[in-house]
């Protein structure tokens, strides 16, 4: 029986733990705080098929299918909620994107429905006047990621996986060193600790992309679908500077999550007031009733971004026995299950459902901050 140490008990690490224990490996998971407490807890938990390139689309679609299978019998532990995504078009330029996006989804048999303005308001009457239409993607959903992470872990634990609390300071060949002096060894090591991977492996091409979110009190009647602006990808994927994009999620309990923002190379927890204001102004612009909605809390989280927006899934290019599953940026919940499957396929030398090439750890040349 082979043994493996997984560094990082976020949703990705927990998913990898389950894949490998199910395959009969002896798994030790190392977590510095508590399970699902890093980027897993900070994000929105949107299970979304994203179409920024074929590789991303395939990985997110496969992820969504695995989520549907996981939650089919037991949706409750994940607070699974099939609210769908409604991409909102504000002008003719964005309306053109609706058709393009629909064509791509249809090519992959992903259900979607083009909404004209009247249909848009029938679906979401709280949207402001003057919008052009939208694209409804009904199979997108949301989960509550910290609970999902623990759920995945509990399944792994049933198969004999072990949890160790501690902070890994260095990774050597076949062993890791913890900050309290402990050394743990295994046949293989998997790094799945998100943006913190560069503390251990500074050669990885991963940059911090910090986000800020706001959660509100319960307003169960305000919106029904996760609302995202059609220029989201354009706004979200600028390669430098700070940016905001409208992204509003109805939690199953009636709370609303308001996003989103991006800041490169910041990992601190201080709220950026100016960026928060920009983000909220934009949200109010789309849904005017939000102005009077009561906010409970804001927080920051750090996405681990790779230069091409695709995660690194596979063996470290220069170190045998060291495996990576990092760089999921803002899609780590969607791609947790699919990336864990693809990583396990490689470690177990199994056939993969997807062509693995686009996700293999690549260029170690760190992109220079601009």
């Amino acid at each position: 029986m082979s043994s493996v140490i997984i560094v990082g008990g976020g949703i990705v690490g927990c998913a990898v733990a389950l894949e490998l224990t199910q395959a009969g490996w002896q798994v030790t998971l190392i977590e510095r705080d508590c399970l699902g407490s890093g980027a897993t807890a900070a994000g929105m938990g949107h299970i979304v098929v994203m179409d920024e390139g074929e590789a991303q689309l395939k990985l997110t679609l496969f992820g969504q299918q695995l989520w549907q299978a996981l939650t089919a019998d037991h949706p409750q532990p994940h607070e699974y909620h099939a609210c769908g995504t409604l991409w909102v078009a504000t002008d003719t330029e964005e309306w053109d994107l609706v058709a393009e996006k629909a064509a791509v989804y249809q090519q992959y048999q992903i259900a979607c429905e083009i909404l004209d303005a009247a249909a848009l308001y029938a679906h979401e009457p709280a949207l402001r006047e003057g919008l052009v239409g939208g694209l409804l993607v009904p199979n997108d959903s949301v989960v509550y990621p910290p609970k999902s992470a623990v759920y995945l872990w509990q399944q792994a634990e049933k198969h004999g996986a072990t949890l160790v609390y501690g902070e890994v300071t260095t990774i050597q060949t076949n062993y890791v060193q913890l900050n309290d002096g402990r050394q743990l060894s295994a046949d293989a090591i998997v790094v799945a600790n998100g943006q913190r991977c560069i503390d251990l492996l500074p050669e990885l091409p991963i940059r911090a992309k910090r986000g800020q979110l706001v959660i509100t009190e319960r307003y169960p009647a305000l919106i029904k679908h996760q609302l995202v602006e059609l220029s989201y990808i354009k706004n979200a994927h600028a390669s430098s500077g700070d940016s905001v994009a409208f992204n509003l999620q109805p939690r199953p309990n009636g709370q609303l999550l308001i996003g989103s923002s991006r800041q490169f190379d910041r990992t601190d927890r201080q709220i950026d007031q100016l960026l928060l204001s920009q983000m909220l102004r934009k949200a109010i612009d789309y849904v005017p009733a939000l102005a009077d909605v009561r906010c409970l809390r804001t927080w920051t989280g750090v996405r681990a971004a790779s230069p091409d927006g695709l995660p690194l899934i596979g063996q470290h290019p220069e170190r045998a026995g060291l495996w990576l599953n990092v760089g999921h940026e803002g899609l780590g919940i969607t791609t947790a299950l699919s990336s864990a499957r693809l990583l396990a396929d490689q470690m177990l030398q199994r056939q993969s459902q997807l062509e693995i090439q686009p996700y293999l750890p690549r260029s170690l040349q760190q992109e220079q901050p601009q």
Binding site: C34, A41, L280, R281, I284, T298
Partner: protein, 408 residues
């Protein structure tokens, strides 16, 4: 340009700080969430303060009083505010934190029933014109507030069915003896004793359950006694409102802000006074407030003249903490199905399997509701020894529009 002194909290400590700071030519701003100055203890205004302190209210005419204003957060040089006119930022050169304390509530079966309220909570509601004459009230928990509120409510015609204090009699008598040499407090104690003559006063006793259909109708004590009532007021002491101090990075020890003899915190130009630095009531609050107001405006001589009174007030605060320490039996009051987090209805059983406050928050949403852990945080610290993690912006829940700043 004159110095910008900003004071958060218009209770005794904040008013006193404003009074002494206004002896200089500083530009003073006093911020409070209420419509009227006075804080919790002098709620209702000047008429509720002892005569010796009424002059502190007079200062409101010479400073900027920002009423109904919530401090949402702070950075090194400015505060983020939600005001009746919308969000604002306020720059400060000196910041005096005087934002007081809240009550500690411990969960027990039935504590979520309507008309089970805080002791200070009932006092506030009565000042807000809740009719109490002829109502049967049980006051339970711990601390001098029980007696003070019982005597006030009785004067307003309430039938105080019982005052229930968890502290053993010997400990209480020791505390009484420690007041000798403190004439103001002796007099106060004597007044309370007189006001509460013929009122059942149980020591070494605590509440084990509240019962009733739709609202509290009777309470059960650990001595087996059952008492019928219309209101149960309970609290187990006070917790300092340290959220703003924490956000500023001030050092805390045992849930209080650490200050030196000038009331200076570990952060430059930031002072803390009153209950924030240790529960001690109005006298400590006024002395500390005055010192901070003087020091912040450079009047060190005036501040140094208060040093002896400050030492005495701090000593009283320590006696108070030692005398009303909570007994371990109170950890057993909550049952498996007793709600601990009232915002999200999280039960004791759900929390018992959690390894930490952070984990409890993420897995059960304990502390994630509108109170942001202000109620359950104190309880879980006592029950499980969990310490709170970071304080999140905004400190007070406000509308989305109140978070949108024009520029920063």
């Amino acid at each position: 340009m004159s110095l910008n002194v900003v004071i958060v909290g218009a209770g005794p400590a904040g008013l006193a700080a404003a009074w002494s700071a206004s002896q200089s030519n500083a530009n003073i701003t006093l911020i409070d969430q209420a419509a009227q100055a006075g804080g919790q203890i002098w709620r209702g205004g000047q008429g509720y303060a002892p005569k010796r302190y009424r002059h502190l209210f007079g200062q409101q005419t010479t400073l900027h009083y920002r009423k109904q204003t919530h401090v949402l957060g702070a950075s090194e040089q400015q505060l983020y505010l939600a005001t009746p006119q919308g969000p604002q930022q306020l720059r400060y050169d000196r910041l005096i934190l005087a934002n007081g304390a809240r009550e500690l509530f411990l969960p027990f079966p039935g504590w979520t029933l309507p008309k089970v309220v805080g002791v200070g909570g009932l006092q506030a509601l009565v000042k807000g014109s809740l009719p109490i004459a002829g109502k049967r009230v049980v006051i339970a928990g711990s601390g001098p507030l029980l007696i003070a509120v019982a005597s006030q409510l009785k004067q307003r015609g309430a039938i105080i069915k019982a005052v229930v204090e968890q502290v053993p009699i010997a400990q209480l008598l020791r505390f009484g003896r420690s007041l000798v040499g403190n004439p103001t407090k002796m007099l106060q104690a004597a007044q309370f004793a007189q006001a509460l003559a013929n009122t059942p006063f149980y020591v070494n006793t605590w509440i084990t359950a509240a019962e009733g259909e739709g609202e509290v109708q009777q309470v059960q004590l650990n001595n087996g006694q059952r008492i019928e009532c219309d209101y149960l007021a309970c609290s187990w002491g006070l917790i300092a409102n340290t959220e703003l101090a924490q956000q500023l990075g001030c050092r805390l020890e045992q849930n209080f802000v650490v200050v030196d003899r000038s009331q200076h915190t570990s952060r430059d130009q930031v002072y803390a006074v009153g209950e924030l630095t240790g529960i001690g009531g109005e006298d400590k609050a006024v002395i500390e407030g005055q010192i901070a107001g003087f020091v912040a405006t450079g009047n060190y001589q005036a501040a140094s003249q208060l040093a002896q009174q400050q030492a005495q007030a701090r000593q009283f605060s320590q006696q108070l903490a030692a005398s009303f320490a909570l007994r371990p039996e109170l950890r057993q009051l909550a049952q498996a199905n007793t709600i601990v987090c009232r915002c999200e209805d999280v039960t004791l059983a759900q929390l018992q399997s959690q390894p930490s406050w952070r984990s409890a928050k993420l897995q059960t949403r304990c502390g994630m509701g509108i109170c942001q852990g202000r109620v359950c945080g104190g309880a879980t610290q006592y029950l499980f020894g969990w310490s709170q993690d970071s304080v999140r912006f905004p400190i007070h829940s406000v509308s989305v529009a109140d978070l949108v700043m024009e520029s920063v």
